[in-house]
């Protein structure tokens, strides 16, 4: 029997059995779906956004960015908030909380004006929800008084956060849009208005592809299409960046963050924790593979904690932040040369091509033996060669060298300390 670590973590003062939650989206649209998810092991659910405004959805409404030989890497979605009657959603939320009292329910809401936001906050508080999430960020709303048009307007973010605060005693999350230059400004406004924490990121406005026969983007809805939110593995780097920046912001210090954007595996999940999230939300990979993916998130994270001797997840929240510094603080004297393992090398020459065409012509190609030879004079240590090498551990970073003034620095990661 495999040992299971205690993955529980407190978020906004609420104890969660694990940090894995469904995010507000199609995957948490009704009671039966949420029930199945919770029974699969998810720690909680951010129920699909409810509002008094009921959308009219289009068909088809999804598209994906594909890459050879892999499942899709990015996902485009045109769906808006829940299209079920508000009362019906409130009922289902209440039933969920009744039937699964130990699981955590986040109620996502979206109003059109202050009055609605307050009213919605009151209504969902009555369902027994544990946390409220304000959806300031859906990028494909058909009304401009809602969604990411709100999230990019700091005044509205503050005003609506305050309106929600007036309607509830529960912790309040403000869900941020990434369709903005600096997320900290909106996040500060939300906190100023009365929000407890931040959820990020919502989807990125996108055109995934343009149809070459019909000259429109996809999906094509009766001949036309529109820009809408992009999610999935492809957005993970963007999500990590926004979260890390907020987590490092002095004015947002200690503010809880629910992180999301491309989480597929336990490793992705750990990364979000390391840059400062203490709760995690997932949609796209569930749409692709189903609720069952949480099993390997739980198991994989447990094994990793065991391996690293980590006993509680809260210990690693934000642990990577001290090592993420502004570009001006990066050591410029440090150089890592590549090492070529000629035993492992299969002679494809990809390192040679990339170094010539995209680097510094620092590899000499031995055409007879089909092996790369490093020209240290020319090599700048950029690392392109070990990134393009298709053979595992064939081209690797060698020991670093300092040119003149640098001194080795011990890397402060928890993994190394323990």
């Amino acid at each position: 029997m495999a040992k299971r670590k205690d993955l529980s973590i407190e978020f906004c003062g609420v104890k969660c059995e694990n940090p894995f939650f469904l995010s507000s989206s199609p995957v948490g649209s009704n009671y039966d779906m949420c029930k199945k998810a919770l029974e699969s092991g998810w720690g909680g659910i951010c129920y699909k956004t409810v509002g008094y405004w009921i959308p009219q959805e289009c068909s088809p409404r999804f598209d994906a960015t594909r890459k050879e030989g892999t499942p899709f890497v990015g996902f485009k979605n045109m769906e808006m908030i829940s299209d079920k009657p508000t009362e019906k959603n409130l009922e289902m939320m209440a039933k969920l909380k009744r039937d699964y009292p130990d699981k955590v329910l986040i109620a996502s809401i979206m109003g059109e004006n202050e009055e609605e936001w307050t009213k919605l906050a009151k209504a969902v508080t009555e369902t027994g929800a544990d946390i409220i999430e304000c959806n300031f960020s859906c990028p494909q709303m058909t009304t401009h008084s809602m969604g990411s048009d709100v999230g990019t307007n700091t005044e509205l973010v503050e005003k609506y956060s305050a309106a929600v605060r007036r309607g509830t005693h529960l912790p309040v999350l403000a869900k941020m849009t990434p369709n903005i230059t600096t997320m900290e400004i909106s996040a500060r406004a939300a906190i100023k208005g009365g929000a407890t924490g931040i959820a990020a990121i919502n989807t990125i406005k996108s055109i995934t592809e343009v149809d070459l026969d019909n000259f429109t983007c996809l999906p094509i809805v009766n001949g036309k299409s529109s820009i809408s939110g992009y999610s999935g593995k492809a957005v993970k780097p963007v999500a990590l960046r926004f979260i890390a920046q907020m987590a490092k912001d002095q004015q947002l210090k200690g503010i809880p963050i629910s992180g999301m954007g491309g989480i597929e595996t336990w490793e992705d999940a750990v990364e979000f924790l390391l840059v400062g999230a203490s709760n995690l939300q997932v949609t796209t990979s569930i749409m692709q593979y189903g609720y069952r993916i949480v099993e390997d998130m739980i198991s994989g994270m447990s094994y990793w904690m065991e391996e690293k001797g980590i006993n509680q997840l809260s210990d690693i929240v934000g642990a990577a932040l001290p090592n993420i510094v502004p570009a001006e603080n990066i050591e410029r004297d440090f150089k890592v040369y590549p090492k070529y393992d000629h035993e492992k090398c299969i002679g494809c020459g990809r390192c040679y091509i990339s170094c010539y065409d995209g680097g510094h012509q620092a590899i000499d190609w031995d055409g007879d033996k089909r092996k790369p030879m490093l020209n240290e004079e020319k090599c700048v240590g950029c690392g392109l060669c070990w990134i393009v090498c298709p053979v595992e551990k064939c081209v690797t970073p060698d020991k670093p060298k300092f040119h003149s003034f640098g001194t080795p620095r011990d890397i402060n990661v928890i993994a190394k300390r323990l």
């Binding site: 050879e68 030989g69 002679g347 494809c348 020459g349 990809r350 040679y352 190609w365 053979v391």
Partner: protein, 448 residues
């Protein structure tokens, strides 16, 4: 069922996504060993890269420009001994399925009706190509693309040579051969069927008809035979005769339940799988050497195994036993190989197999090339330059199996292409010297 299995292609084709997925496995090597390993210069590195970057038409262009039999080669090439053997990916797991990708591109070409090659108006000299096998087709296409008036002379009813009369449909469906023959016809090449040069028409008569150069690509039509008692019995045949009867019958040929095939090459495999697919219950391949030494493609050997063909390596044929003039059994004796060239018989391993049909697949013999005035070497092969096909007679060239003794389809294509170049060089020089003579004559005329 029987006919269907015999006629349907054994290997599954790629779907577009699967093809791109397989192409994405390609490491896109700097010095692509696969491309270096293709005799015909089909350039897998380039066409796989085209498929990988979603330019299937570009892939078709690369293949077709290099190889007039791209679709046939995609199916019958010994990839495991050529490009795929050279594939760098083997160092990680397994080679790229280059044959499969080539077939994907060629199937796309056919399905979309794409035409890469167009011949200019045939304004140059008349050239006769004798034999319509792979070398002949490649030479004819190469010449037509340069603007020559080309006629292919074929002794049989159908064009394609060994492609049509030898290789089994499970490996190479006839419609693929017909498609590529049509491609050559579309380049303006004329075909005169049922015309054996040297018998139905002489070379001299063709010269009188205006043909200025000849390319002899008559191949190896005859079969080598064993030297054991009982070969005169009915039910003893040769690979070439058996396959040439089976393929045009479209699977209707009757075979007895017990068949013995002697040999270890692709042709032996083709005979064995054909016999099996035509309904034989037990097919046994008897081969003198070890399985490792079998010249057959790995894929062909695997396919024979899959069909349940038994293989008896290190056995030497001893006698075909008959009853009332027909084959009844086949006798062989075990061999113990001391080294590559030395073996001793093992009498304890004598076996006798029930047999209603014994097929000798131990090699082909060369056609007589004296009709073209060509000398033959000790193996009966045409005396010609192995690369260019030049012979001792200025306007006669030879290419393919008749020169190299029977290699692969792709090798024959390569040699056909090369001889087209050599013929072009020859006729161009003749043309130039004629022009110079005329000029000189005109000058002399002027001086007078």
């Amino acid at each position: 069922m029987k006919g269907k299995d015999y006629l349907s292609e054994a290997k599954k084709a790629y779907s577009p996504l699967n093809a791109i997925e397989e192409a994405a496995r390609c490491l896109l090597c700097h010095d692509a060993p696969c491309s270096k390993a293709c005799p015909a210069g089909t350039n897998p590195e380039k066409f796989i890269r085209s498929i990988r970057f979603r330019n299937v038409k570009g892939a078709v262009e690369t293949i077709r420009t290099a190889n007039i039999l791209g679709a046939a080669c995609a199916r019958v090439c010994p990839y495991d001994k050529l490009c795929e053997e050279a594939c760098s990916r083997t160092g990680i797991d397994r080679p790229i399925d280059i044959g499969g990708l080539q077939r994907y591109a060629m199937d796309f070409e056919r399905a979309s009706g794409m035409k890469v090659l167009e011949a200019p108006a045939a304004a140059l000299e008349k050239v006769a190509v004798i034999g319509s096998g792979p070398a002949g087709l490649a030479a004819a296409a190469g010449l037509a693309l340069k603007g020559y008036k080309v006629t292919v002379f074929e002794a049989r009813e159908q064009a394609g040579g060994w492609l049509t009369y030898g290789i089994v449909p499970a490996r190479l469906p006839q419609d693929v051969v017909d498609y590529e023959v049509q491609y050559v016809k579309d380049l303006g090449v004329e075909f005169r069927m049922n015309t054996r040069v040297g018998k139905d028409v002489t070379l001299a008569a063709l010269e009188a008809e205006g043909f200025e150069a000849f390319c002899v690509t008559v191949g190896l039509q005859g079969s080598a035979t064993l030297d054991i008692p009982g070969l005169a019995l009915s039910g003893v045949t040769t690979a070439a005769a058996f396959l040439a009867e089976a393929k045009p019958s479209c699977g209707a040929l009757q075979v007895p339940s017990d068949v013995v095939v002697v040999g270890g090459g692709d042709v032996a495999m083709d005979c064995a799988t054909t016999a099996k697919e035509l309904g034989a219950k037990k097919v046994t391949i008897v081969y003198r050497r070890t399985v490792e030494e079998m010249p057959a493609n790995k894929a062909e050997l695997e396919y024979a195994n899959k069909l349940g063909v038994s293989i008896l390596p290190s056995f030497k044929p001893v006698e075909v036993i008959g009853e009332n003039g027909a084959v009844k059994a086949f006798k062989a004796v075990g061999l113990d190989w001391l080294d590559r060239n030395t073996s001793v018989e093992v009498p304890e391993s004598s076996i006798q197999l029930k047999a209603g049909l014994v097929i000798q697949a131990i090699g082909q013999t060369a056609e007589d090339v004296s009709f073209a005035g060509l000398g033959a070497n000790s193996k009966g092969l045409a005396a010609a330059d192995a690369e260019t096909g030049k012979t001792s007679i200025g306007n006669v060239f030879a290419a393919g199996d008749i020169v190299n003794g029977g290699k692969t389809v792709v090798e024959a294509v390569a040699r056909g292409k090369a001889s087209a170049e050599a013929i072009d060089a020859y006729l161009s020089s003749v043309r130039e010297s004629k022009a110079t003579d005329k000029e000189v004559a005109a000058q002399k005329e002027g001086v007078r």
